[in-house]
Structure formats: structure tokens, C-alpha cells
């Protein structure tokens, strides 16, 4: 397996050869930040294109096909348009909060994006409480949404934001519990160690068998709700609240919400693939050494991104099939079903681990 630390160490050594220590660190930070922002933008464009095409195929349509080959640069046109679109200043809004809200959302989204382990040795934010940090950083996003609803001075936005607040905070409970379940299995909160463990011992979803599979399903449902995507797109609920909390945002401010929605989907899928499906760890079958050897030739980043897109596809499939839930049903689903189930799972997993019943 290719270890990305070779590359980072080489860059580090190169920079240190002609720069003092602090300057080298600064340059590295800038480089990493640039890389993250670029990746963020690229993935957003890919995801939006993917969503439009996939939903078109689900709906017996063609989807974008006139800008570039198969409409492949359609999203670039959208981005250009969005960048040059007017950002409307409104009277009677809380200006500071109104302008700050989209940035909070995008910052939260980028912070969590930086947690994803791309390859062996290619983690940006990696420390021993990685999952804890991820959950904490992810929670900032909801502040942005609540502020957007509150500062817009619009009843639709306010209702949308309140719904969103209730929804995200509720579903974070399940996500946290499900992640705890997996931490019980792995015994570590660091993303890099979780991946390394899975590369050595097999994917968590196989190791943890029944509780892990159930946890994976709960994670997908709760994660979908965290991203505010259908069938949980209550805060936006187009047919009820026109555009929900971002109804008053135009231009790139709206663009931030739009980007964050897709990136949150990607992050949610990325975390799912990290803690359940092995992250960058290749697929191994016990006893088939030849097969395993071939699998090892595929780079870790490809595995990671491939798995993530697989989960993204699953989530899109759900989005384009189901009708929307109602807010009380949504909260009932969480507090009456998912949360008790995740508590039981946590106990079950603890029992499995302590009795050595994991594979």
C-alpha cells in the first residue's frame, strides 16, 4: 500500500532545506489549505453534475447535455453565473448576522471536509479525538442555518430555520451514538488509526457484523437528515416554505448554501465509508491472496473516493424516490425509533466486543 507520508515528508524536507522551521510550517499550511479548497470546489462541481445526471436518469430524462460533452461543464457555467450575480442588500434585516450566516455554514462544512482521510498518510486534520472534533465542527453549521432564518426577517425563513434546528440537533444524537458504537469496536477516535485497523483486520462493517450493519443503516438515515436532503429536506421543503431558511439569499451567498448542501452529503458519505467501509483500506477476502494482492495495487485514494461516491449514490437514490416526511414524523422517527435503537446497538456492540464475538 502506498504511504502518502513519503510525499509529505519529501515536501517538508525540501522546504526546510531553504526555509526556517516556522516559515516551512506556514508554507505547508497554506499549501494544504489551497489543496483543501480546490478539492472542495472540484468535488462540489462533480457532485452537482452527478446529482443532475442521476436524477435525470431516474426520471427517464437526459439531463444537461448541451454545455460541453454530455453537459459536463454545465456546472461551471452555473458557477460563473452565480459569481457574477448580484447580492441583494435588504432593509430591515440584521445585516451582520445575515452576511455572516453563509460563511459559518461553509466554514463548518470545510472543517469537517478536512477531517476525511484520503489515503494512508494523507489526513489533514488527524488527532486522537478526530471523531469528536468532527462532530463538534459539524455542529457549527446549524448555527449558520439558524442565523440565516432569524436574520432574514422573513416568516418562511424563520420556520425553515426552526425546523432545521430541531432536525439537526435531534439527528446529531443518533449520529453520535452510532459513532460511539463503532468507537467501542475500534477502540480509537482517530480517523487514521480507524482506517489502519480496517486495513489490517478487515472492514468494520464485517468485523462488527450485525450491530455494525444496523449501525450503518441508522447512520445513513441520520446522516441524510443531517444534510437536510430528501426525504428529510424539511427546512427547505420547497412546496411548503418556498426555499426555507435561505429564501432571502441571492448570488454567491446562496451559492454557499448550495455548495455546502452537496459537500455535506459528500462528507456524510465519506465518514460512512471511513468508519464502516474501511476508508482507504482495499477490499480483502480472507484466503484469496492473489485477489488481495491485486486489490492492493489500487491506490487508497481511489478506494476512499470510490466508496464515498457509492454511498453518495445510495443517498441520491433515496432522495429521488421518497416523498418528504412531515416535521413531527421526522422528530418521532428520531426520538422514538432511531435513538433507542442506537442505544441498544451501543450495548450490543459493547457486549460483542467484551465477549470477543467480533470477527
Amino acid at each position: 500500500m502506498f504511504d502518502f507520508t513519503v510525499v509529505t515528508n519529501w515536501i517538508d524536507a525540501l522546504l526546510l532545506s531553504f526555509l526556517p522551521g516556522w516559515a516551512a510550517t506556514l508554507v505547508e499550511c497554506v499549501l494544504v489549505a489551497l489543496a483543501i479548497i480546490t478539492l472542495y470546489a472540484v468535488f462540489a462541481i462533480i457532485l452537482i453534475y452527478m446529482e443532475r445526471k442521476i436524477c435525470a436518469f431516474f426520471q427517464c430524462r437526459l439531463g444537461p447535455n448541451r454545455v460541453g460533452k454530455w453537459g459536463s461543464i454545465q456546472v461551471l457555467a452555473d458557477v460563473l453565473k452565480m459569481l457574477t450575480k448580484e447580492i441583494i442588500d435588504m432593509k430591515n434585516v440584521d445585516r451582520l448576522l445575515h452576511k455572516m450566516a453563509p460563511f459559518l455554514v461553509i466554514v463548518a462544512s470545510m472543517l469537517t471536509f478536512a477531517c476525511l482521510p484520503w489515503n494512508k498518510g494523507a489526513e489533514v486534520l488527524d488527532f486522537n479525538i478526530g471523531i469528536f472534533f468532527f462532530l463538534a465542527a459539524g455542529s457549527i453549521g446549524v448555527v449558520g442555518i439558524l442565523l440565516a432564518g432569524w436574520s432574514s426577517n422573513n416568516k418562511y425563513a424563520l420556520i425553515g430555520a426552526m425546523r432545521s434546528g430541531a432536525q439537526i440537533i435531534s439527528y446529531e444524537v443518533s449520529i453520535g451514538l452510532v459513532m460511539l458504537t463503532m468507537i467501542v469496536l475500534t477502540g480509537t477516535m482517530s480517523f487514521s488509526e480507524i482506517c489502519q485497523q480496517q486495513a489490517d483486520l478487515g472492514w468494520n462493517i464485517f468485523r462488527g457484523h450485525v450491530p455494525a450493519v444496523l449501525a450503518f443503516i441508522i447512520y445513513l438515515i441520520a446522516g441524510n437528515a443531517e444534510c437536510n436532503r430528501g426525504p428529510f429536506d424539511m427546512p427547505e421543503a420547497e412546496s411548503e416554505l418556498t426555499a426555507g431558511y435561505h429564501v432571502e439569499y441571492s448570488g454567491m451567498h446562496f451559492g454557499f448554501y448550495y455548495l455546502a448542501e452537496y459537500l455535506n452529503l459528500f462528507i456524510c458519505a465519506g465518514i460512512a465509508s471511513t468508519i464502516f467501509l474501511g476508508g482507504w483500506a482495499p477490499f480483502h477476502v480472507l484466503g484469496l491472496d492473489g485477489f488481495n494482492h491485486v486489490m492492493d495495487y489500487i491506490p487508497g485514494a481511489v478506494w476512499m473516493i470510490g466508496k464515498t461516491f457509492f454511498v453518495v449514490f445510495l443517498l441520491m437514490w433515496i432522495r429521488w424516490t421518497f416523498p418528504r416526511l412531515r416535521i413531527d414524523q421526522l422528530l418521532a422517527l428520531e426520538w422514538k425509533y432511531l435513538m433507542p435503537m442506537s442505544l441498544v446497538l451501543l450495548v450490543l456492540m459493547a457486549v460483542c466486543v467484551s465477549l470477543g464475538l467480533t470477527l
Binding site: 439531463g63 448541451r66 457555467a77 452555473d78 458557477v79 460563473l80 453565473k81 429564501v247 441571492s250
Partner: protein, 195 residues
Amino acid sequence: MEVKKRAKIKSFPYEEFKDNETYEKLVQELNANGANVIVTQLDNLIDWGRSNSLWPLTFATSCCGIEFMAVCAARYDIARFGFEVTRNSPRQADVILVSGTITTKMAPVLKRLYDQMADPKYVVAVGGCAISGGPFTKSYHVLKGVDKIIPVDVYVPGCPPRPESFLYGMMQLQRKVKVEQFFGTTNKKQKEPKE
């Protein structure tokens, strides 16, 4: 120096558009002052982006709205042009397709919707009612053409227009967007309202 811009629409030859005279006049007007080469290139890029990403506001008052839904649906599929992202909030939309009769009670609402949209914004008057009042032009409660209250970019006649004419109208709008200038002229069409 006069810069002659001619918008190209994919798989639709220039000669096959119906009213090229009006169009050329428009091009002349827009480019009367000329512009330098770099700015023109940048303009082209931005216009390309804008013309391929005209997100419509979901706005329909009557029959034409159903035909608009048909345009969005599988057979005609407006998504091919990248226009399927219909926005429900006027702040996020680029083009308002006024499809259906506008009554005098609705007129202030339409005007307000138009004012709420962010620049650059475009208006397409779809169907006889929006163009002139159509079959209801003699009525006491019908606005005789939306161009009385908001500036219209493209007129799509019909009662209701067929989905093909919707698409043709949208392509005409694309042609118009493609010759606009972002730099050098004012980007904002509407004056700031007086307090």
C-alpha cells in the same frame, strides 16, 4: 472600433432563427461603444456562463404553467439546457417566465417579484395573455401585456405555446444574453429605488 458579436447556439444554425434583423439591431445597439479585446473575452466567458444557466422562477398563473411543467418533464426536458433548477425564491432566480394571464390584482405582485430578483434578470412573456391580454384583452380585470409594468426580453406567442416554442424562446433569450456586456456598461438594469 465596433465589435461584432454573433451568438452561437449549439446545433441551431444562425440562419434558422426567425427574426435576425431585430437581433442584429440589438447587437448594434449593445456594441455601439465598442470594447477592448481582453474585456470582450471576459465578457464572452461570463455571458457563456449566464446564458447556459438561466434558472427560472416557478411562476405560473394559468394554462401556460401546465405547458411549462410539460417542458420540464421527460419528453421535452428543459434540463438539457441546464434550466431545470427552478427556484421558488425570486432572489435566486435569473429569469421569470410570465406564463398566464396577469390580472390587475396580480400586477403589483408580479412587479414585486420582479423587483425581488437579483440582477442580471430576464423576463419572458409566455403566451397571448402575458403578451397582450390574449383572449381576455377586453376584460376589466386583465393587464393588457406584462410589458406595461416590467421590461420583457422575449415574447413567446401561443395560447398556450407549444413546448417547442418555449425552448425556442429560451434559445432566443440565450442569444440575447450572449451579446450583453458585463464590463464597460452598467450591469444593473434597474435603478436604485429612491428611499
